[in-house]
Amino acid sequence: MSEAHFTPVEEELAHGAESPIEYLGERNLLPPTMTMRQLTETVCAPTELKTPKAWWIGFGIALMGAGILGASVSWLLFKGVGVWGNNSPVSWAWDITNFVWWIGIGHAGTLISAILFLFRQKWRTSINRFAEAMTIFAVMCAGIYPGLHTGRPWFDYYMFPVPNSMVLWPQFKSPLMWDIFAVSTYFTVSALFWYVGLIPDLATLRDRSTGDTLPRKVRRFAYGFFSLGWRGSNRHWQHYERAYMILAGLSTPLVLSVHSIVSFDFATSVEPGWHTTIFPPYFVAGAVFSGFAMVLTLMLVCRSVFDMKDVVTMKHLELMNKIMLTTGSLVGYAYAMEFFVAYYSGNQYERYVFLNRAIGPYAWAYWSMIACNVIFPQVFWWKRMRTSIPVMFVISILINIGMWFERFVIIVTTLHRDYLPAVWGMYSPTIWDMGVYIGTFGFFFTCFLLFLRWLPMIALAEVKATLPNAHPRKSHAADHADDHGHDTNLAEEPTALPAE
């Protein structure tokens, strides 16, 4: 495509750009030959063609996993939290580790769909739908833990601000209450954001499901119902784009706040190794890090299974690897800084905890964390590595493992040896700890495979807007001088709320 097709804003982006992140607003993400029709076909194909065998196999396995979750949770409820390895002093272990880990996974989705949107990164359009779906399912998995790790889950409703027989209210000084609000808000907003994005594409699916066979009718009804009678009206697009931008604007501070608040669970405590001001940024960076790794892992699989190499290009993948390299290094910096502060504080309890992490009984966990999160991602400094599918696949999985260990290290190595040596102890998980964890994977992939099969995994309308010739050559602003600036396009630059 030629320069002529750019809006003034794009011109400005391409030429007058200073910060590298603006350069990431690359063009030619899709092959120039790609037409809108082709695009529609490619994206809708997985939901319309016959279900591939691979899908059925995957779905079967995932369902089995979900079954394990059911079994483990039932046993947990029947017997009590004692079936887990938690003990005194390690009252939190895998439960909260997995909670934080899953929440972290979720964050990449919001980051891609919201933050990159605000940064006008066109390339996000190929992966945001996908990532948002992942966010929602990951948050669901995360939500399982705070709900079930309590001793008496059937009384969890005491944590909601509803009147009860004891006329007591929730205790809003507790970070757990902040968690409740943060995580539920996060889930709700992500779901809304995702759904709003889906509406035009659902309409596309609706309009494509013609024919009078029952399945077609069902499709037509279902997609029709959820697309709310969307007719691509420009008067709607106007509200839609603004609403979408606002949601992006809301999700950005939200996603930062959620993991900050999760980190408050630890940062506001008195435990050495937890009581740290570095936690919020450190947790957020970690969340983005692990989230991108998970997106990449899933992306690589779907990309090959559903043959989407033209939509999700190597360019996309490389950009994601760059982000992982960055966040990985941020996390590495946090690790180093923790140690320095522990040493510099002169607080013997703090010092001991960190020494204990590095050379204590759980050193193996600590060093696996360092290796997976800090050392391995460094290979992404080399373009050959950044652009090698097998390498990035392996690394992304390693990163997910590493980030799990990070949470494990933070929680268990702090608790198992805190202030009074007399009550020091060790922790080891039981089969039921593992059951629930494996189960959440089953649940996650069950949801994810259903998503891949029935919903467009690419944000169709958004990608179309990034195609060449997607927009009129000349402006029709005419005498309506006050209008320019409102004619936003969600693939291009959004404007701030009207200032004038």
Binding site: F181, P200, L228, G229, R231, G232, N234, I246, A461, P472
Partner: protein
């Protein structure tokens, strides 16, 4: 390609009334041109239907800015205040307890929840505000009576002029639209009610 002059013959006009004129274009440019023409001709009740938000279309149609931002602002402030009042009343007034030796109504610990409440209600404002302004869901719009309209969510661009537009006149409007060389032009009718 069907001739632009031919109307939809399957219509028995005695029991149906004209609902809207639907012009179809293959490029965003054609669509935008047509919109601009209608705007300059003083039409107000016309609309463009595109698979994705076409850049510059708002200007071409001469639309005002959306008020959705203000809805969100109001909702956000409501959320923030509601959160504060809830916590202040529950912990500070209705059943104050000494927790960790701190004052029952300590403000600092309320900030996170107030923030989350702000975001939550803002998001509701954005989404349900959107539905309200667009009057969605609406599954029965007459425009769906056209068989070709399905491509509006695929790769074609449509202009619809509503029959209720004060300047709407079947002949004049059709001529006007034919002047924009649409790929297809049709009269969409609906049952008289």
């Amino acid at each position: 390609m069907t001739s632009p002059t031919k109307t939809n013959t399957t219509v028995e006009s005695d029991e149906r009334v004209a609902s809207l004129l639907l012009a179809e274009y293959e490029t965003p440019d054609g669509c935008a041109d047509a919109a601009a023409k209608l705007r300059d001709a003083g039409y107000t009740k016309f609309d463009a239907h595109t698979p994705y938000p076409v850049h510059g279309m708002d200007a071409a149609m001469g639309m005002r800015d959306t008020p959705i931002g203000w809805i969100v602002l109001a909702m956000g402030m409501t959320g923030c205040l509601a959160g504060f009042l809830m916590m202040f009343w529950m912990n500070g007034i209705d059943y104050p307890l000494v927790i960790g030796g701190k004052p029952p109504d300590a403000i600092p610990s309320m900030v996170p929840v107030m923030f989350e409440m702000t975001i939550l209600l803002s998001a509701f404002g954005a989404v349900f505000g959107l539905f309200g302004l667009c009057q969605l869901p609406r599954h029965h719009h007459p425009i769906f009576n056209s068989d070709r309209f399905a491509r509006a969510t695929d790769d074609h661009f449509f202009i619809s002029v509503d029959a209720s537009d004060p300047k709407f006149d079947l002949k004049k409007t059709r001529l006007l639209l034919e002047g924009t060389t649409p790929a297809h032009l049709e009269l969409v009718e609906e049952y008289a009610s």
